[in-house]
Amino acid sequence: MKSYLQAILAIAHKDLAAEIRSRELVSAMLVFSLLVVLIFNFALDLDKSARENVAAGVLWVTFTFAGTLGLNRTFAAEKDRGSLDGLLLAPVDRTAIYFGKLISTLVFMLLVEAVVLPVFTVLYGISLFNILLFGVILLGTFGYGGVGTLLACMAAQTRTRDVMLPILLFPVTVPVMLGAVRASTGILANAEWGEILTWINILVVYDVIFVAVAVMVFDYLIEE
């Protein structure tokens, strides 16, 4: 058990250390996120009341798009360097690779979200600093990253790679998107607690089911 946890942390640590050195991925995700936020503002030509209505939607579209950017790199980089084979030789359970990759993806996504939130607050004039909203963001990001890590591992091994991931991922993550957007909208609009809770429940159920399924099937994706 201890060595299993160590393996997970070692994999996550390896990715994070590489990122601290190069800062390639997170900076790309950040710039991309800010662009999406700006583009939405132009495209929807938002006035004050409209901004309040669409804020949660824009926020989550930004997160998911930035997320695909990060997810695409997690396994593609290993594939390019040929270091996936090295990982496979390590005498640990394969699911440790899944959790290690999941952790590094989550750290990248949460970092980007931590920067986007204050910028969004300033640009859209809506305070997003709400502990409940942070909880929803955490749950949504976890579900999205959980399925995303699984499917990114698949996409990285296909011919079309980067193009493949969103096509595989978006239709399967509709409940996460819907749940996260509805819960966030409810929180921002001070809706009734019961209504918000329903959506949080959906997020929790989704997260539990899909991470469990991902763990069960992950082995089959890296058999060589």
Binding site: L150, M154, P171, V172, V174, L178, I209, Y220
Partner: protein, 232 residues
């Protein structure tokens, strides 16, 4: 197709064609015209079975996926891909015919109701399934990835449906469905026609699935031969 077509499949072919002709006769000449909706109601006799059989098809893919991962027997994977293709044909049929029915009855081609929305997402999942398989050359890997996506995709469907259902009940649809429009009075001839069409579609489903499975087996055989030729 080829001369080696097994006897049961030959019988299924003939039964399918006969049932097709009989079902058209029942739909157009035996079943009476529905008073409220008019002729468009006749779409329903083919629409409903194609919709539920597409679910059966994708369910078969789920089961075949699990079975393949457990046994590594490629026949399961062939069944999986065969079932996805047949399922997509049925699903597109159900979707298009549903729109053709909705236009005169609900006065719109499209509504964001849970069933319709989920169904469209479902269809996109299986298009993604086909694209995924196309992007992988190694047959073992293709089978494993296809199985995994067939499982993940099908499991997401009930949660998607439930979340969209909640979304729609909290935010009611722009126009309400009139009760008298959705409930139709089923006369005995209508019910008989409907039941017959359902059986007909089950037979067609099995027939098409079997043909598609055979095609996939042949493809695998030729693929193997090609490998042998390129290695020689």
């Amino acid at each position: 197709m080829s001369s080696s077509t097994p006897k049961p499949l030959q019988i299924l072919n003939i039964v399918s064609i006969l049932m097709f002709i009989i079902s058209l006769g029942l739909v157009f000449f035996y079943a009476p015209r529905e008073a409220v909706m008019g002729e468009a109601q006749r779409i329903f006799y083919y629409h409903v079975p194609s919709a539920w059989l597409s679910f059966v098809a994708f369910g078969v893919t789920l089961i075949a996926g699990i079975a393949y991962l457990r046994t590594s027997d490629h026949r399961w994977d062939r069944l999986g891909i065969a079932s996805v293709e047949v399922g997509i044909v049925f699903a597109v049929m159900a979707l298009l015919s549903g729109m053709l029915w909705a236009r005169p009855i609900w006065n719109t081609w499209w509504t964001w109701d849970p069933r319709l929305t989920t169904y469209t997402i479902l269809l996109l999942i299986y298009f993604a399934y086909l694209m995924l398989r196309q992007g992988i050359e190694d047959p073992d890997k293709r089978a494993r990835f296809g199985s995994v996506y067939g499982i993940v995709g099908f499991i997401s469907v009930p949660i998607t449906y439930f979340s969209i259902y909640l979304w729609r009940t909290i935010h009611p649809a722009v126009f309400g469905r009139n009760e008298s429009e959705t409930k139709m009075s089923m006369e005995p001839q209508m019910l008989q026609t409907f039941i017959f069409c359902n059986i007909f579609f089950m037979v067609v489903f099995v027939t098409l699935l079997w043909h598609r499975f055979r095609l996939e087996s042949n493809t695998a055989r030729v693929e193997e031969l090609r490998m042998k030729a390129s290695n020689a």
